[in-house]
């Protein structure tokens, strides 16, 4: 399908630059997904009377959110200026949009984790303002769940809205891969932390999330043309193969996890690890695609050869483009 591409470059040097991001960013993608999925699970567990699943979801969400915030700030060139993100709201910047999504989500996820901790205190300590916790509890949890899905989905736009060939070319399917991965990972956390009597919904969420991730990842690769190559090569290739194996194994295991706590813990761990591998694999593939001019030049040349240059008006090349 993809022709063996010959292309010209300037001494083989890259054209676009890879992002300056390191392991912080795929960690952030993973942790954000776990936080979002966990808030959804916690809200469901709260509404259906599953106290352990609720507690692990709420505490898991705030722990994952903390990891993601530390990773995000650590990644900055000037961490002390983190708050500069809050001086504007820009819809053209997925990072700005994401900052505001987190700003909406974070306080509710934090509040409901706090009320969960208050509920764990002995009754005689729950005095004064702490009595408010019981009132705030469910509304805060539901609001956290409402703002959670965008937390899981926006990170796909964050990567795709770049000139990095293997990220941009994936923009149609990547949000589905990421929310699937988030569902599988957070359900995995539920399986690890809760007794089998409460994890029925988490097991269904795990299987659904894993299936969505695997199917959409497959479709994504088919739509990416030559820029799918980095997903199969080198470090990125190893991450992606590990992701697939772990996610399939974890999903299969979670079908049986209703009978055995041990199977549930192993399956849940596999799902969490699979999500880590997916995030690192897609991150690495993008970085590699930016370092090789082939992935920038060849798709653009194919577009030009097909007579379809990107133009806003009628596709009439001006006289200044000679036919060479």
């Amino acid at each position: 399908m993809v022709p063996e591409a010959t292309f010209t470059s300037y001494y083989g040097r890259p054209i676009v630059k890879p992002s300056p991001w390191e392991a912080d960013i795929p960690t952030y993608l993973f942790a954000g997904g776990v936080a979002a999925g966990s808030s959804l699970i916690a809200a469901g567990a709260d509404l259906t009377g599953r106290p352990t699943l609720r507690r692990s979801g709420r505490l898991g969400a705030v722990a994952a959110l903390s990891v993601s915030m530390v990773a995000l700030v650590h990644d900055l060139g000037k961490p002390s200026r983190f708050l500069n993100m809050l001086r504007v709201a820009k819809v053209t910047s997925p990072m700005s949009v994401g900052t505001w999504i987190l700003t909406l989500y974070g306080p509710f996820a934090g509040a409901v984790a706090a009320t969960e901790v208050v509920a764990m205190l002995p009754a005689r300590w729950r005095v004064g303002p702490l009595r408010l916790a019981a009132v705030v509890d469910r509304p805060a949890g539901l609001l956290a769940a409402l703002f959670a899905p965008p937390v899981a989905a926006y990170t796909a736009v964050l990567l795709a809205d770049t000139a990095t060939p293997s990220w941009h070319a994936a923009y149609r399917e990547l949000p589905f891969v990421f929310v699937g991965s988030a569902a599988a990972a957070s359900a995995g956390l539920g399986l690890v932390t809760s007794p089998v009597g409460e994890t029925g919904p988490a097991r269904r969420f795990a299987v659904g999330g894993a299936a969505l991730e695997l199917v959409m990842e497959h479709r994504m690769e088919r739509s990416m043309g030559i820029t799918a190559e980095p997903l199969h090569r080198g470090t990125a290739g190893r991450w992606m193969r590990a992701a697939k194996a772990l996610t399939v194994a974890g999903a299969a295991g979670s079908l049986l996890a209703g009978r055995s706590r041990a199977v549930a813990v192993v399956s849940g761990t596999a799902l969490l690890a699979g999500s880590v591998c997916t995030r690192f694999g897609i991150f690495e593939a993008g970085q590699e695609s930016a370092k090789d001019p082939r992935y920038t030049v060849v798709p653009q040349r194919e577009r030009l050869a097909a007579g379809m240059p990107v133009r806003s008006g009628p596709a009439a090349p001006r006289t200044s483009h000679p036919a060479t």
Binding site: R303, V310, R311
Partner: protein, 320 residues
């Protein structure tokens, strides 16, 4: 100020950014590479004026290019390309006396190809050409770096150019992968240099423009390969120069980045090239990534709803 063409298509970038009717005309560069002599005066003048630290210097073995690329510490970059191709058909009379200039060849000095390069062929033309081009930030009409900046550090000036505010940037690095030309970069060093950790690139000498001066690179260019001025006028000049070269038989000549209908809405800094863009390390058909942003947010919205529905369905199933 969002309009129909705010993300893609021809637009006056300063007006689109909210400057009033009285904003100055859009300023930019037309870099005519056909008369670049590779002197690197632009590189030096840029570093001197903008206090850009000298790093990345290395003997790279790529003709006379030892400054690698445009990056945080290199806001003008002269590319050198040696090609075993005739210089075009222009008849200047000079060619008849062409002698071996001792150009750096692609083979050992006494090798056959090097000996051949520079010598006249039957028609009296050398079968060697040396392309030189001073690259710079394109100051796109639709600048992806500016679009994705989450702090507002990158902004559109009244001259339609794109500039980083050093005291606002928090070094998130998002502009770096967003640029379709690989221009902007987070400064990594050297230690002790100013603005380490934040995004850096050409400002089109915003400070000089404000004082009515010409940018340092254009001022220093001894051949007027780098021409500075009103973008509309530069486009006319570029069209005229191109027609002149075509008439003279240099059919390789083409303009790059001048077309307001192109993937970045036309560049404020555009070029006359003598070969395909990728030969110079430029993307052949770049497009601003935010052109697809509405579609991306739609897909993410559907994905988010899918996640919410999936969670709800998981809990609605059998109760056990």
């Amino acid at each position: 100020m969002a309009g129909k063409h705010s993300l893609f298509g021809p637009v006056d970038p300063a007006a689109d950014a909210g400057y009033g009717e009285d904003h100055p005309p859009r300023m930019g560069f037309f870099t005519d590479t056909s008369i670049c002599i590779g002197c690197k005066a632009c590189e030096v003048a840029c570093k001197e004026w903008n206090d850009v630290p000298a790093t990345h210097f290395d003997m790279l073995g790529s003709s006379y290019d030892n400054s690698l690329s445009l990056n945080a510490n290199q806001w003008r970059h002269v590319a050198f390309i040696e090609q075993a191709k005739p210089l075009g058909e222009q008849e200047s009379g000079l060619r008849r006396q062409a002698v071996d200039l001792g150009m750096p060849g692609m083979a050992p000095p006494d090798g056959a190809s090097a000996a051949h390069a520079g010598q006249d062929d039957d028609a009296g033309r050398p079968d060697f050409r040396w392309l030189m081009s001073s690259d710079v930030c394109k100051h796109c009409t639709h600048a992806a770096c500016l679009d994705v900046c989450p702090t507002g550090s990158l902004f559109r000036t009244e001259f339609g150019t794109v500039v980083v505010q050093d005291d606002i940037c928090n070094g998130c690095g998002y502009c770096v992968p967003a640029c379709p030309y690989g221009v902007i970069e987070r400064r990594k060093g050297p230690e002790g240099a100013k603005n380490v950790g934040i995004a850096q690139k050409c400002t089109l000498c915003y400070d000089r423009l404000g004082a009515g001066s010409t940018p340092a690179c254009a001022q220093a260019c001894p051949t007027q390969s780098i021409q500075f001025g009103d973008v509309d006028e530069l486009r006319e000049r570029a069209d005229a120069r191109l027609a002149q070269l075509h008439e003279a038989g240099t059919t390789d000549a083409r303009l790059y980045g001048h077309d307001p209908e192109d993937g970045v809405g036309g560049a404020g800094a555009f070029f006359l090239l003598l070969d395909e863009p990728e030969v110079y390390g430029l993307p052949p058909d770049p497009v601003v990534t935010t052109k697809d942003l509405p579609h991306m947010f739609n897909r993410a919205g559907v994905a988010a709803l899918t996640l919410l529905a999936g969670a709800a369905l998981s809990f609605l199933g059998r109760r056990r």
